[in-house]
């Protein structure tokens, strides 16, 4: 089995499957294909990651495609999110089909866009060319836009429009940034065609023009930051997350945001390596990380919609990842680890919120009460995932946030530390109040308790077990991947 073939399969298979899904005859078949693609790709990705760990990196398509520990790790996270969401979609849309809310037409569109988005995101991750990476990001925006309005309602269309407009503008800035970096690269390498490859850029970052790189990173940060949901560019995020069907929300929070942040991770060592720019990019990342945490905290405190709450929570967590990246050292490790933890926890939270929303007919947290009694499985899932998201031990997010704090202390960044802890505390207060109220509060719901699905229980248990396990212990293989990926993102620091 040749690595380059496997790499190509990684992004081509979803695209082919997308075309297939367009013509499949039944909803179940489409959902099955979505799941099957992940099932096929997971071993491929694992094999590639193992290979890249051994060899340092694996390239394909005359170096245009690249899998190293950083992209490999994100690939794994992506497949985890897609896998979990695909399993959940089976249960979620199953209920919608039963109520006649999900037609074959919608399912086909959903399947094709979903798989297309998967292909585009894979392309982002494995692209070794910074311009192609941008192309991939833009493609994910366009492909996912109509996933939000899977159910065409006025609110979902509004969210779609905002998502489309804001992200397009943002990503256009990212393009400007890409151009500026590319110009610097061209000048430094005197016009080699390969100048736009990460592998080339990283070979000699000290020859890059610092002014261009500086301006470029500012544009990139604003551009990809918009897509990643860093405050104050996050405004599309709560709308899109709250209006999309739950599996899509999980996908957005669980991986779409990370994909954009991944692009920034790629640029980080380049900017750090450029002359006179040491500390520039990390400083900005820390700033935006802290701002995101605080802004998210402000909105979480007064939120009444469950899915919007989770969306703001994503802003906070992406902020934490940015903060970790900016702090460097153990922070980089923490940022990557946090990416995985947040993806799992947030997916579970959206699954639970989505399913409960389905049965209650609303996402208003004032009405979404007594969930533990009403639906023990999803009620527990929601409560536990919210606990995990606020950083309670023994869940994995506690560990990764602890490591971010360690990194801040290590850098003597006491103001950052204080602001982060304060923001996190407000989030804790705000989310927990809601979590408790949803789990136990209010009068017993009049709606009958829905049946008990083994698939649901399995999914919840799987996520919770993963969160607890990762909180106590990182498997050696994962640890190795994380360390290697952190070394790449940290530029060997």
């Amino acid at each position: 089995m040749s690595p380059s073939l496997v790499i190509n399969v990684l992004w081509l298979l979803p695209l082919v499957a997308a075309l297939v899904a367009w013509r499949l005859p039944s909803v179940r078949a489409i959902l099955g294909v979505i799941l099957a693609v992940v099932v096929v790709l997971v071993p491929c990705a694992v094999w590639l990651v193992a290979l890249s760990l051994r060899l340092g990196r694996v390239t394909a398509a005359s170096q245009w495609l690249l899998v190293d520990a950083l992209s490999g790790f994100h690939l794994l996270v992506m497949l985890v999110v897609f896998g979990l969401s695909a399993i959940f979609a089976w249960s979620y849309f199953g209920a919608e089909v039963a109520h006649g809310h999900f037609s074959l037409r919608q399912a086909r569109r959903f399947g094709a866009l979903w798989l297309g988005a998967q292909g585009a995101m894979t392309a982002v991750l494995i692209s070794n060319n910074l311009a192609m990476q941008w192309v991939g990001i833009e493609a994910t925006t366009l492909l996912t836009a109509f996933l939000i309005s899977t159910h065409t309602t006025s609110a979902s269309l509004e969210a779609t429009w905002k998502y489309l407009m804001i992200c397009s503008v943002g990503v256009a800035f990212a393009f400007v940034g890409t151009l500026l970096v590319a110009t610097a690269a061209m000048h430094a390498h005197t016009g080699s065609h390969n100048a736009l490859l990460w592998t080339e850029l990283l070979a000699a970052p000290e020859r890059l023009d610092p002014l261009l790189i500086k301006a470029g990173f500012v544009f990139l940060l604003v551009g990809y930051g918009t897509k990643a949901g860093l405050a104050p560019m996050h405004s599309w995020l709560p709308d899109a997350h709250s209006q999309a069907p739950a599996p899509v929300s999980a996908l957005f929070s669980g991986f779409l945001l990370n994909a954009a942040l991944y692009c920034l991770m790629r640029y980080l060592p380049v900017v750090e390596g450029a002359p006179t720019l040491t500390g520039f990019a990390p400083g900005l990342l820390v700033f935006f990380g802290v701002v995101s945490v605080i802004v998210a905290a402000a909105f979480i405190l007064f939120q009444t919609d469950a899915k919007r709450l989770l969306a703001y929570c994503s802003v906070e967590h992406l902020g934490i990842v940015a903060l970790g990246l900016g702090l460097g050292g153990v922070g980089t490790f923490a940022a990557l680890f946090h990416t995985l933890n947040h993806s799992v926890a947030k997916s579970l939270a959206f699954f639970a919120a989505g399913r409960l929303g389905q049965t209650y007919g609303t996402h208003d947290m004032n009405k979404l009460t007594r969930t533990l009694h009403h639906s023990p499985v999803w009620g527990t899932g929601l409560f536990v995932s919210l606990l995990a998201l606020v950083g309670a031990a023994p869940f994995a997010l506690f560990m990764s946030e602890l490591q971010v704090v360690m990194a801040a202390s290590h850098r003597h960044a006491y103001w950052t530390l204080g602001l982060f802890l304060a923001g996190a505390a407000v989030v804790f207060v705000g989310m927990l109040r809601r979590a408790i109220a949803m789990a136990w509060g209010g009068a017993a719901a009049a709606t009958p308790r829905p049946g008990f699905a083994l698939l649901d229980l399995g999914l919840v248990l799987l996520c919770v077990a993963a969160l607890v396990t990762l909180g106590l212990f990182i498997p050696p293989g994962l640890n190795e991947t994380l360390v290697a990926a952190a070394r790449i993102a940290g530029g060997g620091r």
Binding site: V218, W236, F302, A334
Partner: protein
């Protein structure tokens, strides 16, 4: 240590098993309680020899988390906390098995027991952890599991509120601890306690001490960080309250002591600060307790007082270190540590008693109780013992710890500099006021709840609770008495732990404690004489009254014709004159409808004493923060154009900033 870990594993494992058989509540309870007994028993096997024999057991395993290592150590200081935790844990489990009604549990008992056993295990792990990350992990698990325990009856709004307040408070504390450990660890480039200790000179010690004080003080319940205690303790099931108040809050004391061992010699202001906090907590805590009518809330505030007493001891010990007075150090730390144990016994007993009352009458409101001693003789008698014990009255254990603390204060007051004398005077005044108010408080608690006539039908219909409950209370009563009567031996065996906590040599500590230990023989003697005299007097009275007429009548009513139970002195009226002394800080809310006209139809007076700090400090802060954050809200107004504008402005500012 293998046995220790087997014990922890048994605890958690049985908890998980209990959770898995959640559909069968009785089975779940049995599994969990059996697991708790065996697990705690296994833990005690290495802990008891360490406590009494000294020495340190260590174990270390690698752990793939950055900065983390599975380093644990069981030294006498840790063992001193392990033993009460394990013992009270077992007793609480036995009590809880009977206390919680499986029929009403509705499938939540499994989770409850999982959290319960996890709480015991995590407390034990906190105490033995020798690595910052491990410590924090165990600490957080402890908070979370106790939070789940508090939420046992989550359908009640006040319980939810209490649990929320608790978790928020404990989280804010943990945030300080995160900062504490990471800053310390960053300076030491390792999170192992040994490495941190080695680099104690390289850290901003003052800042770290304050962080530790806030972080651990929140868990322990130091004023002004105590606000969660009076919320969470009444809300939790009583066996959980007993465990939380008896030993869990002590983990905060343990943490503070352990943190202090990481630093070098302490500056004097640490001691003064801790002493002031201790005195404030002791006096205000017990005054607030006195003002409460909710039995469990009263007990919770009383815990604040006792934590304050412990803090006074630690503060005096620190002053001893700062001023080079080894006797003061030994007595201060010794008194604090002994009080940890004694308070665990007494407070456990009292919460179990309060639970029994709640079980029998379905109310915690003192003003609706009364006359329970005839109806629940065993509970009443043990509650009386617990009350006397917690007030520090001889011959019970808490008296001995207070004696050590007074002795420490007198050492400071007789040999020290003016500053130390001032500290001693404050400590003595605080301890004495605290002791006096405690007596008043528990005279009220026991007197109003158990004596006199029942003030409600529920109290009149109360019956004694079942055997396991009374047995547990009896065991603790005996323990409370023994720890006082066996004082010389108990204090003597404390030396190892005190030496650990104060960071002095074992010989020095033994010598320092020896000052008190010699005298404690007389305390035992006095206890013996006291008991003998009481027996002689009882016998005398019996002999005198044997042949004489003994009449029975109503209580002297001053000639009033129709006395009723409602005319008795109530908890509010008993407390009112005392509480008035502190009107400036307490701000009791009164609702008073005065009698009018010659034949007044009705007049009412009700008082409610909320937590002043919560009302005047935390509430404004929270409101302020939420108002400040609320000003962000218009930013998300729904207009896409302005959203794009934010992006543009951000970009513009960034460009201006980076190209200025």
């Amino acid at each position: 240590m293998a046995l220790f870990f087997t014990g922890l594993g048994t605890l958690v494992g049985s908890g998980v098993m209990a959770a898995l058989c959640y559909r069968r509540a009785t089975l779940a309870t049995r599994v969990a309680v059996t697991g708790a007994i065996f697990g705690a028993g296994l833990v005690l096997v290495p802990a008891l020899p360490t406590l009494f024999g000294g020495g340190t057991l260590v174990a270390s395993l690698p752990w793939s988390m950055p900065g983390a290592a599975l380093r644990v150590g069981l030294d006498p200081l840790a063992a001193l906390f392990v033993v009460p935790m394990a013992v009270l844990g077992v007793l609480a489990a036995i009590y809880g098995a009977r206390y919680l009604d499986p029929a009403h549990a509705n499938g939540t008992l499994g989770v409850h027991w999982l959290a319960f056993n996890t709480l015991i295990a995590s407390m034990l792990l906190v105490v033995v952890a020798q690595n910052g990350v491990l410590f924090l992990l165990a600490w957080e698990v402890m908070s979370l599991s106790s939070f789940v325990l508090v939420l046992y009856d989550g359908s009640a709004a006040e319980v939810r509120r209490a649990a929320w307040v608790y978790l928020v408070a404990t989280h804010l504390g943990t945030a300080c601890l995160l900062a504490f450990f990471t800053i310390f660890g960053a300076a030491a480039s390792s999170f192992d306690f040994d490495a941190m200790r080695a680099s104690a000179t390289a850290v901003p010690a003052g800042l770290l001490f304050v962080l530790a004080l806030i972080g651990f003080g929140t868990k322990a319940g130091f004023m002004p960080f105590h606000v969660w205690l009076p919320e969470a303790h009444p809300a939790a099931p009583s066996h959980v309250s007993a465990l939380m108040s008896g030993v869990m809050i002590k983990s905060g004391i343990y943490g503070l002591l352990r943190a202090l061992t990481l630093f070098g010699p302490p500056p004097a202001w640490w001691g003064f600060l801790l002493l002031s906090i201790g005195v404030t907590s002791a006096v205000l805590g017990i005054v607030l307790a006195l003002a409460q009518h909710d039995l469990k809330r009263l007990l919770a505030y009383c815990s604040v007082e006792n934590i304050g007493i412990i803090a006074v001891g630690v503060g005096l010990g620190l002053l001893g270190k700062a001023y080079g007075l080894p006797v003061l150090t030994a007595l201060g730390f010794g008194g604090a540590l002994l009080h940890v144990v004694n308070h665990a016994i007494a407070k456990g007993l009292l919460f179990f008693g309060a639970g029994a009352v709640l079980h029998a009458t379905d109310t915690r409101d003192l003003n609706r109780l009364g006359g329970l001693l005839c109806r629940m003789p065993l509970t009443g008698a043990t509650f009386c013992v617990g009350s006397a014990a917690i007030c520090g009255l001889p011959p019970f254990g808490a008296f001995v710890s207070e004696l050590l603390l007074y002795s420490a204060a007198f050492v400071a007051g007789t040999t020290g500099s003016p500053a130390l004398v001032a500290a001693a005077a404050i400590a003595i005044t605080g301890l004495a006021l605290g002791g006096g108010f405690a007596a008043a408080c528990f005279a009220k608690a026991f007197g109003i709840a158990f004596l006199g006539e029942p003030r409600s039908a529920a109290a009149a219909a109360a019956h004694e609770v079942g055997t396991p409950l009374t047995a547990v209370m009896l065991v603790l009563s005996v323990a409370a008495a023994l720890s006082g009567v066996l004082a010389p031996w108990v204090v003597g065996s404390l030396a190892g732990a005190v030496a650990n906590a104060s960071g002095t040599s074992l010989n020095g500590t033994t010598a320092g404690l020896g000052v008190a230990v010699d005298g404690l023989f007389f305390v035992s003697l006095a206890a013996g004489i006291l008991i003998a005299v009481v027996l002689v007097l009882t016998l005398t009275r019996w002999l005198l009254l044997r042949r004489r007429p003994i009449g029975a009548t109503g209580t002297w009513d001053c000639g009033y014709a129709r006395p009723s139970p409602r005319m008795q002195y109530t908890a509010s009226s008993f407390a009112a004159p005392l509480v008035e002394l502190f009107q400036g800080v307490l701000r009791t809310h009164r609702r008073f409808t005065p009698p009018v006209a010659i034949f007044p139809p009705s007049a009412t007076l009700s008082t409610h004493t909320p937590d002043t700090l919560q009302e005047l400090l935390y509430a404004p802060i929270f409101v302020g923060i939420s108002n400040a954050l609320a000003s962000f809200r218009p930013l998300q107004h729904g207009r896409v154009q302005l959203y794009v504008l934010y992006i543009a402005v951000t970009l513009g500012l960034l460009l201006l900033w980076s190209f200025q």
